[in-house]
Symmetry: C2
Subunit: 107 residues, 2 copies
DNA sequence: TTTTAATATTGCAATATTACGATGATATAA
DNA sequence: TTATATCATCGTAATATTGCAATATTAAAA
């Protein structure tokens, strides 16, 4: 099968899992961290920095875009973008809540 | 190919991605949340609660175990386990740091 | 307009993930 | 000992992910 049974879970559980999936690749972690370290927006140099082929980087960027974590201009030549602050903090909050709502009344 | 080029990234980036991968499935989110809601340890009822087949649940539990998030007894009948508090807080910390070290000097 | 540079899309091969039936192992109950 | 109940493992089918070569698209430069 290989297909996740999303209907069995809550919207929130599915959304959290979806965001985690985007973070579930070191290249995407590296991309986000690299963008973050820059003074301003990112233009061009990601392919050289990460060391994967250009189509591969493009694909990874697309995954990150899908969950709303990037903003900027995306068409044609000289793409420029950076991290969407509102969305970032929203996701940070989601993980925060997830990690904080766990009990340890244990064996 | 389908194989991640882990050698291109730092150990920390790979580890964070690996943990995110475990969280990247709603069933595993649901399992963790269900265990958390219980008074004590979990015994038996996970299959009924989540609604996936027993081998599937077993597989998901194994993924969670792999990153050290569960403790308890795992052999034979009447498996009992709960969340490993130290490891949980360690991972919480990792995500916290990841989400906090991002800059937004943007376009 | 033609070239050039940067990014996107397509198509494909290799591998990973998800799910479950069948079966095996283990421990308690009868 | 013989069920029975619980969890693990194996094998397999369906689908998803990763990565890249080839190619297309786009916008600015020449």
């Amino acid at each position: 099968m290989g297909v996740t049974k999303t209907h069995m879970f809550t919207v929130r559980q599915n959304e959290l899992a979806q965001v985690a999936k985007v973070l579930a690749h070191p290249a995407r972690i590296a991309i986000l961290e690299y963008i973050s370290k820059q003074e301003g927006c990112i233009c061009n140099d990601l392919v050289d920095v990460i060391g994967l082929a250009q189509p591969t980087i493009s694909q990874h960027l697309n995954e990150i875009k899908k969950i709303g974590l990037l903003k900027g201009t995306f068409e044609g030549k000289n793409l420029c973008y950076c991290i969407n602050e509102e969305r970032w903090e929203e996701l940070q909050q989601s993980f925060q809540v997830f990690f904080s709502n766990i009990n340890f009344n244990c064996c």
